[in-house]
Symmetry: C2
Subunit: 589 residues, 2 copies
């Protein structure tokens, strides 16, 4: 095996490859070519430096060329752009961006880690000034420099993905009025609609204006401001625009070299991360991966897989035969007070892939309710309707969301079912969890559906109910004051057994409570007393009303940890009472 | 199937059984007998009410008899003690503790959930006043009442298990000087020695006095104080004594009824949680379970399994055939600033079970180092030396420990290997994790050992090294000031390639750094340059010196989140520099 390895791109995947390769092989000749001025910088930290959460710029420079060379005996050529792969001669053509000179470097192996480029919508004015993208340190310097110097009042963020939402938050923290414009009907695409509703409500409450289902039609200067024309005809006036409309894989080099490109637009690689040329590997945001759940091709540009791919390629370059097992797109974001996370496939993806699924929700606190500081999370899982194999999960909440998404990501990676979640032996002490963890509860709730212990109905099916269907609200009277689904009958759960005769057994009955737990108990009571068409509203009134509030643009002050504790009721005592009522049953399913 | 079910004990498992049973069967006759005055109270919250962390006593009463009856139509008889099981007649003999009358109740099925009793060492004076145990609400009232009223200055906690340590913390928070007396050489038995050392150091720094390897020989009054005589002859003077020396399963009823008792002392049950009488089930702290890792019988009294067992029994009583898959003893505790957790088997258990194992450590921050507030954790995994199957894990750290132990518990439950940890697709954003999560890193470190990329030596083997072995410290000079293993040679890692000739290739070389990462890189360099006997010190100097400090009783101010950030060096600038040096490589293994 030859031992001269040229690495194109020195950030996440490229730097990982070089470091691991050197540890495996002291003799290899390793050169990193990076067109930018930095290697291995803190990609995911950039918005937080603009927001001054990460105050020192140097913190972003995780690894410098000098340190990399000293530690790993790797040659790092920054500001050197690889312009061509000459596969026939096994040479790269490289342009030194400082001297403008072009030279050639021969190789035994190439590792392509060129990353991705921000997408700029091709609209008039998109190349004007004060229109920024955020991908690297120079971008960060530009945006932060502009904010520091000009102290702008407002910003429009185009794109509501992870970076868009993080930028909105950080610019808001800098005192700007921020609007998000998003082409889809929702922010954070990995979430499904009803989960995103909770994020929308929180963003609105924090003062972020949302323009959803809306594109940018044009950008122009207007006096000392920028004018942003939306596709629906609205016009926004702002000081600066952040283009965060996603990224596309940087495949220019690969395409010119005739390497195969996948159907999703990323460089095609095999399980060993080899391109169609066995001497050329590719990793990171430039490649197409296999969706670990569906086994379909997917484009999932995330830092975690990129770093792990670098390590695998280094191993394979030194004699191993390691497979990259595919990506499941596990991702997480802080969105002001919220933590939002997803893993595996969502409803949109499963529908597109033509895979049958069922979903269930639980709403449970991050730790024992009696220990101070407990806050709820909404946890959704998606699973096959036959065996209950886990297909995906989404969580919106506060503390403890990261833990549960990682446990669920682990279960999904191992191709486990909702029943496997029931028995997980997770760590419990009052400051950290509950005797039945939210993940166990998710397994219980889904298992009840699959074992026909209960039928569920979903938030979007309420409007399609027959006119004579009974909507049975089993919450306490105090909770009904929080709002109710139109046309509901209220019989608090504890009175239900005594008041069964008030309900018509021949009709469809949809039971609901705050989050779905008492509704389930109510449904079980009815089913066993001769009611033949009983359903429980999955996610309860809380989930249903989150979508309603979102659609109506209602500002909901309760979407904070404090607000959650009082269930948004104006009278704190009643809120407390309602909360305890909810609490009484949350340890059981 | 008959439908009259009598449940003996109304706390965790018993209450869970009743609630699930009612949901599955509206017609069943369900009676809970509870000898105490409360059902379903917050067992694990008791120490925190004494410490005033949970201020309101009512918070501890998760479920009341009235609420249970109203919601689940279950009859709850508190202060009713079951005194006999008459299996021949299928009747229980019950004593009403208020009226002192005895009556009989017939059954189709019995569920035994009598819990466990605190162990009181049989030493002189153990039944005197101001000697408390903590198991239920009345116990809590007694201790808290005493502390509130008498404002004692000091307390001795006998037993350093989870409850003992939590009590020590909570009494300390109430202003008492607290000592812990523990029979074993360490607190928190689920940890191994070197992991417990970090807890000892933290407890000492917080002002808790530790008397390890030491039992209580006797208790006596001495003027207005209690005198605690230790087995090593020392005498402690204190205001009150908490007996937290563990619990033993309450098997009295079962034994009298001739039910089979397991070798660990708990009631023996089959996979379906049936006792040797198929009409009698048993759950919770009273039973023997199967160790999910070794498949050996085990006694693991924890709240999580108890609650889940209750649900399984209810399902089995209504036609299901569900197995309890065994316990792996996942547990966690807050110990002042620390979070301490374990799952699966530790070295002591594996040695006793005669199972071969290897261990590895990593030390990594809970989230990206460049994002504010990052704090390290020491993560230990145990695995089979052949295939790398995970056998156990232990973590000592601050934030984020609970997440990693749950992911590892999940991997262990699914019988996965260290290699499976490498690919886990876990959620990464700077506030929550790293592109390579500590769990991934644990997989990398263990994989390197199994793939013969590096040999390791453990903290307890340093003293056994041959006299001419070379101890090579590859840390920076600034870090050497933090302390060093006696007789070490210091060659900072970045200079190692240039200074190889200073080392004798014929000798054994033990490389070490702060936490094991640069040591590994150094070992790789030496191995590839002709050194034939090279080992890396697992866990690095930090782990080694934690044991040293513990053994010498040195107070170490650095075992706090703030102290960790400065690596305990007196000059903050040098500390920062050292920390960054450590940081530079932590993204790689």
């Amino acid at each position: 095996m030859g031992n001269k390895v040229l690495i194109v791109g020195g950030v996440a995947g490229g730097a990982s490859t070089a470091a691991r390769l050197r540890r495996m092989d002291e003799e290899a000749e390793i050169i990193i070519f990076e067109q930018g001025p930095h290697i291995s910088f803190a990609n995911c930290g950039l918005p937080y430096h603009i927001g001054k959460v990460i105050e020192e710029r140097e913190k972003l420079l995780v690894q410098t060329p000098e340190a990399m060379e000293a530690r790993f005996n790797v040659e790092v050529r920054i500001k050197n752009k690889v312009v061509k792969i000459d596969r026939a001669n096994q040479e790269l053509e490289v342009k030194d961006l400082e001297s403008d000179e072009t030279y050639r470097e021969d190789y035994d192996y190439v590792v392509l880690s060129p990353g991705a480029d921000p997408i700029k919508p091709p609209v008039p004015g998109v190349d004007g000034d004060r229109i920024f993208t955020l991908r690297n340190i120079p971008d960060t310097d530009e945006i932060k420099g502009y904010v520091d110097q000009h102290k702008p009042d407002s910003a429009v963020v185009v794109g509501g993905g992870y970076i868009g939402v993080e930028m909105a938050e950080n610019l808001h923290e800098r005192g700007l009025d921020v609007s998000i414009v998003e082409l889809a009907p929702q922010v954070l695409g990995p979430l499904d609609r009803e989960m995103a509703a909770q994020v929308h409500n929180h963003l609105r409450m924090k003062g972020i204006e949302l323009y959803l289902d809306n594109g940018v039609a044009g950008l122009a200067d207007q006096e000392d401001k920028k004018k942003v024309s939306l596709s629906n005809g609205e016009e926004l006036t702002t000081d600066l625009v952040i283009m965060a409309a996603g990224v596309s894989p940087n495949t220019e080099l690969a395409q010119k070299a005739g390497l195969e490109i996948g159907e999703t637009g990323g460089i095609k690689v095999n399980d060993y991360l080899q391109t169609s040329d066995p001497n050329i590997y590719a990793i990171g945001d430039a490649i197409e991966v296999t969706d670990a759940v569906t086994s379909n091709p997917a484009y999932i540009p995330l830092a975690g897989p990129a770093n792990k791919q670098g390590r695998i390629v280094a191993n394979n370059l030194t004699g191993a035969k390691e497979k990259f097992p595919g990506s499941q797109g596990t991702a997480i974001a802080k969105v002001f007070d919220l933590t939002v996370a997803g893993t595996g496939n969502n409803e949109k993806q499963l529908t597109e892939a033509d895979i049958d699924y069922e979903v269930s929700y639980i709403n449970k606190k991050n730790h024992a309710g009696y220990y101070p500081g407990a806050v709820p999370m909404t946890l959704k899982i998606l699973f096959t309707p036959d065996e209950g194999r886990l297909l995906g999960a989404q969580i919106v909440g506060y503390e403890g969301v990261d833990k549960r998404i990682d446990v669920l990501a682990t279960a999904i990676r191992f191709e486990k079912t909702v029943f496997d979640l029931q028995d997980l032996d997770l760590a419990y002490a009052p400051p950290f969890g509950s005797a039945k963890d939210p993940v166990n509860m998710a397994g219980f709730a889904a298992g009840n559906i699959l074992n026909d212990k209960v039928d569920v109905i979903h938030w979007h099916q309420i409007d399609e109910l027959a006119d004579d269907a009974i909507l049975l609200d089993v919450r306490e009277e105090v909770e009904v004051k929080l709002g109710q689904i139109d046309g509901s009958v209220n019989i608090p759960l504890n009175s239900l057994r005594d008041r069964l005769e008030e309900l018509d057994k021949s009709k469809e009955v949809v039971v609901y409570c705050a989050v779905g737990l008492r509704g389930y108990i109510g449904a079980r009571i009815l089913m066993q007393h001769g009611f033949e068409n009983v359903k429980n509203l999955a996610g309860g009134y809380k989930l249903y009303s989150a979508v309603q509030k979102d659609e109506q643009g209602i500002i909901d002050d309760s979407t904070t940890p404090e607000g959650e504790r009082l269930t948004s009721i104006s009278n704190p005592e009643e809120g407390q009472q309602a909360e305890e009522e909810i609490e009484k049953t949350t340890s059981e399913l």
